[in-house]
């Protein structure tokens, strides 16, 4: 169980709520509500913004495809023993 209360979308400022739409296009999936990590990172856009942009810069298609990079991310998460 999370150690913090994850806020509902309606509890975020209007400007921040727009960022949740980015998750839909990034994952190509119409989430009924944003994933927990998206809501965590939106807590502080001054942190979550640049962190997310660095991730997207690294994970965007380049020499490797987006799918290949998601596989790298899954392996890194597995090695770090992270279930999320």
């Amino acid at each position: 169980m999370p150690t913090v209360r994850l806020r509902d979308v309606s509890e975020y400022p209007e400007a921040t709520r727009k960022l949740f739409d980015v998750a839909k296009s990034w994952f190509k999936y119409d989430f009924p509500r944003p994933p927990a990590m998206s809501r965590v990172m939106a807590w502080n856009p001054e942190f979550g913004g640049p962190h997310g942009r660095a991730m997207k810069r690294a994970a965007a298609p380049g020499e490797f495809t987006r799918a290949e990079k998601e596989m790298v991310a899954a392996i890194v998460s597995g090695v770090n023993a992270c279930d999320y």
Binding site: M55, E70, M71, V76, S77, V79, N80, Y84
Partner: protein, 188 residues
């Protein structure tokens, strides 16, 4: 892990075969790194006397030749020569390694990159250097290397944020399910 497996399936790796292969690469990479780093610590000589090729038996020499050929290296890496003290064990380990890194559902270039990410994440000096060399040998350029470093670093951040807050997986259900049977088997 659940989120990125789901995301990877949505982005193009919808079948299970690539994920089985990725898991095997992660496992065998870690297995070799454990022995390579643990049995030859920095600043120290090898803790087990490595087998010299000219003194190896015929079966072991054959394995050593395969290792040199598969990795296009002039010398057999030290870890394999230490493990060669039990030729039967090395032969089986090598067979699993070779199978894991052979082109199949995933190309070898990606498998080397996954192994590099595993090694970087686990701070394996041996594995990081070995698989970085392999990536370059298999045609990955500097931008590609930096892409893998970036993804490894950023998702080492996300995993710690998720763990610290004990987030529960909430994306596993979005992945398509592969209903095909195991290789050679029949659908249930």
């Amino acid at each position: 892990m659940t989120a990125h497996t789901a995301a990877g399936k949505l982005q193009g790796f919808a079948a299970d075969a690539p994920w089985y292969e990725a898991a095997f690469v992660a496992g065998i990479t870690n297995a070799l790194n454990v022995a390579a780093d643990g049995l030859a610590p920095p600043g120290s000589g090898p803790l087990l006397e490595p087998v010299e090729e000219e003194r190896a038996g015929a079966a072991l020499r054959e394995v050593f030749a395969e290792i040199r050929d598969f990795h296009a290296c002039p010398d057999v890496p030290l870890v394999f020569r230490m493990l060669g003290r039990d030729p039967g064990y090395l032969a089986e380990l090598w067979a699993a390694w070779r199978e894991a890194f052979t082109d199949n559902a995933l190309p070898r270039r990606l498998k080397a990159s996954l192994a590099f990410a595993v090694s970087l994440t686990t701070r394996s000096g041996f594995g990081t250097a070995f698989h970085l060399d392999e990536m370059r040998r298999l045609g990955v350029g500097e931008p590609g290397v930096l892409e893998i470093i970036g993804v490894t670093q950023m998702f080492s951040s996300y995993t710690k944020i998720a763990d610290t807050l004990q987030l529960e997986p909430d994306m596993g259900h979005i992945a398509p399910v592969d209903a095909s049977p195991a290789p050679g088997g029949r659908a249930g």
